[in-house]
């Protein structure tokens, strides 16, 4: 009766979770926020998160936004620090801190704010897709 442990391909099931109304809305917000294609972001999420995390995406997203707004760090709020590191764990926290530091240094050097934030977002995009 021995055989290999059966593992199901969960791609379709996970996709079903992500196309629910609220999940889809949040996914599109995130995708346009960091400039990743929707399908590409879906693929990344499916590969890297397990099913209950995907189901919990809207609640975690809201909790992370609340955490971001509670702190008085405007750069972190603009970059969505908690959203991508703890809320939706796509970027390691150490890497996120690094990105935050680089962005702040750029601002200190006199780079205009929108430009520095855009550069920070590009770094986050890179970290998500790697």
């Amino acid at each position: 009766m021995s055989g290999w442990l059966y593992e199901q391909d969960l791609m379709v099931q996970k996709y079903h979770i992500l196309i629910a109304t609220r999940h889809d809305r949040i996914l599109r917000t995130i995708a346009s926020d960091v400039g990743i294609g929707v399908q590409e972001l879906r693929k990344t999420l499916i590969e890297r998160l397990d099913m209950i995390l995907l189901e919990n995406l809207p609640a975690r997203y809201e909790a992370a936004i609340a955490a971001d707004q509670k702190g008085d760090d405007l750069v972190a709020l603009a970059l969505g620090r908690y959203i991508f590191s703890t809320g939706i764990p796509l970027v390691r926290e150490s890497r996120m801190d690094e990105i935050l530091r680089t962005t702040k240094e750029r601002l200190d050097r006199g780079t205009p704010r929108p430009e520095a934030i855009a550069a920070g977002k590009a770094l986050i995009r890179e970290a998500i897709l790697q």
């Binding site: 442990l5 199901q8 969960l10 099931q13 079903h16 979770i17 629910a20 109304t21 609220r22 890297r48 397990d50 099913m51 209950i52 995390l53 189901e55 919990n56 809207p58 609640a59 975690r60 809201e62 909790a63 955490a67 703890t86 809320g87």
Partner: protein, 361 residues
């Protein structure tokens, strides 16, 4: 995120301890659990997809069948969301009857949750005691609403049927009996040394991690977070409701929160019966177009319906956020991680009162 682990132990989907199919893949190092991956997909029915485009008369029954254990609150939140969209008022008597039905439902759900926990830690005596008390509650629920499960008691503008004077008397007698029994069982659980060995200090969910994963309901209240949607509900505000909070953060605290809430529910029902006024139980109104996000407190925590209706009372867009989603997430990624043995995985999982049917809808 691949990691090297000693053994990967899958539990489920059919498991003697789990009432519903879910697969937990526990990554272990020695006996210690270092991570859990949850595999769902055994209960995905796509209820929200069926609901879209249907009139509220049909969606009402579908909403009830999101979860059979806490069907009254699903009914209540959906109907109250529709009422808020359309501006329909509820008669006083009906509002209190709703609370009675809701609290009876909460009682049976909490009793079932505590039964499951006691059954999982193999304290079958206490489990059977609790299941026996649950039957008494189910009787009262049936006498009030006409059905044990999925009773569709709450309808827009009121409730379906009234409570008779003799039923009120029986309800009071039953409540007295339930309360005296429960006092004994709660004390058994709280002071039992063997139970404490299996529950105290196991499955720690700190306040911070509970906030991060957005834990709700008894799971959050067992970790010292004072969150209860009932404090925002007008009828409960009239009754002067105060949430139950414990600060121990472990399995024992979560179960004791449920025991305490059972007594709170009994008090609320008594208060409702005392203040019940004579009057109509159903008003009228027309369901209108609109969009709303409305939350209520289910036995497991905050339940949120995001509804959009059109002018004919059809549901054009709906999203249900059930409490189990957040609680199972908190349970699997925070509580279970770090428990000392695989034997504690099942009991910790059950202590969060997981409901897979809610989670996947």
């Amino acid at each position: 995120m691949k990691r090297t682990v000693d053994v990967n132990i899958p539990l489920g989907p059919v498991h003697p301890c789990f009432k519903e199919p879910v697969r937990l893949k526990c990554e272990t190092r020695g006996e210690r659990v270092i991570g859990v991956e949850v595999e769902l997909g055994y209960m995905k029915k796509g209820i929200e997809r069926i609901m879209k485009g249907r009139p509220w008369q049909e969606v009402m029954f579908l909403a009830e069948r999101v979860c059979g254990i806490c069907s009254v609150i699903h009914n209540m939140v959906f109907i109250e969301a529709i009422e808020r969209i359309s501006g329909i008022d509820v008669p006083k008597r009906a509002a209190f009857l709703r609370v009675i039905a809701n609290e009876l439902d909460r009682m049976q759900s909490h009793l079932l949750a505590n039964f499951s926990y006691c059954y999982t830690i193999e304290h079958e005596t206490l489990a059977m005691y609790l299941l026996d008390v649950r039957e008494l509650v189910m009787d009262e629920l049936e006498r009030l609403t006409g059905a044990r499960v999925t009773c569709a008691y709450i309808i827009p503008g009121g409730v379906r049927c009234d409570i008779r004077a003799e039923d009120q008397a029986t309800l009071r007698i039953s409540l007295d009996r339930i309360e005296s029994d429960l006092h004994r069982y709660a004390k058994m659980f709280e002071t039992g040394p063997m139970i404490a060995l299996r529950s105290k200090g196991i499955g720690i969910l700190t306040q911070e991690s509970a906030r991060r994963s957005h834990a709700v309901g008894p799971t959050a209240r067992g970790s010292g977070i004072n969150v209860d949607m009932r404090t925002l509900h007008p009828t409960y505000q009239q009754l002067g409701f105060v949430p139950v909070v414990r600060k121990d953060c472990d399995n024992h605290a979560r179960i004791m929160v449920r025991f305490d809430e059972l007594f709170a529910s009994i008090r609320i029902i008594r208060q409702c019966l005392d203040t019940l006024q004579k009057g109509i139980i159903r008003g009228g109104g027309i369901c209108k177009a609109g969009e709303i996000r409305y939350s209520g407190e289910a036995p497991r925590g905050e339940l949120t319906y995001t509804i959009k209706t059109d002018e004919f009372g059809r549901i054009t867009d709906i999203q249900i956020q059930t409490p189990s989603i957040m609680n199972i997430e908190a349970c699997c990624h925070e509580m279970i991680v770090g428990v000392d043995s695989i034997a504690d995985v099942t009991s910790t999982f059950v202590s969060a009162d997981p409901c897979i049917a809610c989670t996947e809808r």
